[in-house]
């Protein structure tokens, strides 16, 4: 059974893992972090709650004495090669969500007294914005972090503000959109490789200098509009992905790219323990995939239409129903419409790192990386984010889909695209 089906049948929504990797300037000891986590888990027992599902999913809180999570594990790395190998091992180690392991910490100590802190969490607990804020609370860098109780940080669904009667028609609208996209069903590398099991995830990160980042952002504003760099990034990634399909002589009916959208009210990271990320499905017919500006224009049009037709909230309603009715209905609907695929490539842009993540438990944070895992299929995802004035791109993929050299070439090509802003004459 594919991982997506497995998660959907069990939980009613995908609970894939994600990571934030903080590179600290000094050595953070296991005992320091453990002691801090002991205090945090008493304040927020949801960090070790068990999700139960009868008809409705619900959290079962354990008493602090019975909580084993979040745990801290320690590693030593002597060089970059060993560091990457340890990181991949951590990425591929599943969380034991059934017994309450929703968050895990790994510390990797380096020779030069630096430490990498890896927080791995399940999306069923929180989205990336919640995770950043939780790290800020743990790292004592969020102002007035002690004023919040679990009740302040916990929220139900983002569709709470909709009247009950409005949800079903919206969910139907979302399914209708899936049917529309099915005219050009997604092609992923995973299904074309006819694999039913995967070996594990690997990832590569590319970083740009502040000057290069400035140039990319200027080009993004020029070609995709103000505050709309996501469109520029996504067009470059989709264009390069299509090129990869072409190189492998895989005939493409189209690409479907789910774009992660943050539904939080702006100006706050609260609530923390909730997943307020919704999905905007963008579909690209093959004739649109050859030209960067055609992809970009199509992306802009689809985003605008999605806002006008309320498709983002419709998607959340569909997911909401998937949690309360037999979840397999949603999974089977998607699989039937898309002939077994879920999407071609997962895309996310968490944006600029908040200021409170530049320090963690008294240490300066020198680097920050986002590393998601991606449901299979498509088993491949790309994340864009800015830390310390530098744009970073993480490409995560199932090992058997790409060799590391191909992943690096993919990122290099996306980077070249962004730097040259290939959209007609400059």
């Amino acid at each position: 059974m594919l991982a997506f089906d497995c998660q959907m049948r069990q939980l009613g929504f995908a609970g894939n893992q994600a990571q934030i990797v903080l590179g600290l300037s000094g050595r953070l000891s296991d005992s320091e972090l453990e002691s801090r986590l002991n205090a945090i888990r008493i304040r927020f027992p949801i960090l070790a709650a068990r999700i139960k599902r009868m008809v409705h999913p619900w959290w079962r809180f354990m008493s602090p004495a019975k909580q084993d999570y979040p745990g801290v594990r320690s590693h030593e790395a002597v060089d970059e090669k060993e560091l990457h190998s340890i990181k991949c091992d951590i990425l591929n180690r599943p969380l034991n969500t059934g017994s309450g392991e929703l968050v895990r910490f790994d510390l990797i100590h380096m020779k030069e007294a630096a430490t990498e802190v890896i927080m791995t969490w399940s999306h069923m607990l929180m989205d990336v914005h919640g995770a950043q804020y939780l790290l800020g609370i743990i790292g004592k860098s969020v102002p007035a972090e002690d004023q919040y109780t679990q009740a302040d940080l916990l929220s139900g669904s983002y569709t709470e503000r909709l009247p009950e009667g409005a949800k079903l028609p919206r969910a139907k609208k979302s399914f209708a959109r899936v049917d529309e996209l099915a005219a050009y069903p997604p092609v992923s590398l995973y299904t074309c490789a006819s694999q039913t099991v995967f070996s594990g995830f690997d990832y590569r990160v590319v970083s740009f200098s502040p000057e290069q980042t400035e140039k990319i952002l200027t080009l993004a504003e020029k070609w995709s509009g103000f505050l709309n760099s996501s469109a520029f990034y996504a067009a470059a990634a989709v264009g390069r992905f299509y090129q990869l399909l072409e190189d492998r002589q895989i005939s493409s009916y189209g690409c479907v790219v789910p774009i992660s959208v943050d539904l939080r009210k702006k100006g706050t990271y609260l609530p923390v323990f909730t997943n307020q990320a919704a999905t905007l499905l963008c579909g690209f017919a093959p004739e649109l995939l050859c030209e960067f500006d055609a992809i970009l224009e199509s992306f802009k049009q689809q985003t605008r239409a999605a806002v006008r037709e309320d498709l983002i909230i419709s998607n959340t309603c569909a997911m909401e129903f998937a949690r309360f009715i037999p979840a397999r209905m949603y999974a089977s609907k998607i699989r039937k419409a898309f002939a077994g695929e879920i999407a071609s490539l997962i895309f996310a842009n968490p944006g600029t790192t908040p200021g409170f993540l530049y320090e963690f438990m008294g240490h300066t944070v020198k680097s920050l990386n986002h590393v998601p895992t991606v449901v299979v299929p498509p088993g491949m995802g790309i994340v864009f984010y800015i830390f310390s004035g530098r744009l970073h791109i993480t490409l995560v993929y199932v090992e058997s889909l790409l060799v590391p050299g191909e992943a690096e070439a993919f990122l290099e090509a996306v980077g070249d695209h962004l730097m040259s802003g290939l959209c007609g004459a400059d």
Partner: protein, 83 residues
């Protein structure tokens, strides 16, 4: 519609639909610094289209025009005068 009505309508939309109630928003607040993102901007543009029957030209969608309610209301007023 008068300038004050445009400003009031925009402010009400931003307070109710875009920003967290804990965030203080007035006509001069820098919306970008307050956390406005691409989706929120798109929602504002659709709100303007629906409520003022105006489509903001792409060239006018920039930091200067979109950074505050005052500037947005000024732009809408200007476009109205010219139609």
């Amino acid at each position: 519609m008068e300038y004050d009505d445009i400003e009031a309508a925009l402010l009400a939309f931003l307070k109710n639909d875009i920003f967290d109630p804990r965030v203080e928003i007035n006509a001069d607040t820098n919306l970008i610094a307050a956390g406005l993102d691409s989706l929120s901007l798109l929602r504002i543009l659709v709100f303007i289209e629906d409520n003022f029957s105006l489509r903001i030209p792409e060239v006018e969608i920039n930091e200067e025009r979109m950074c505050s309610v005052k500037n947005m209301a000024g732009l809408i007023d200007e476009l109205w005068q010219n139609t």
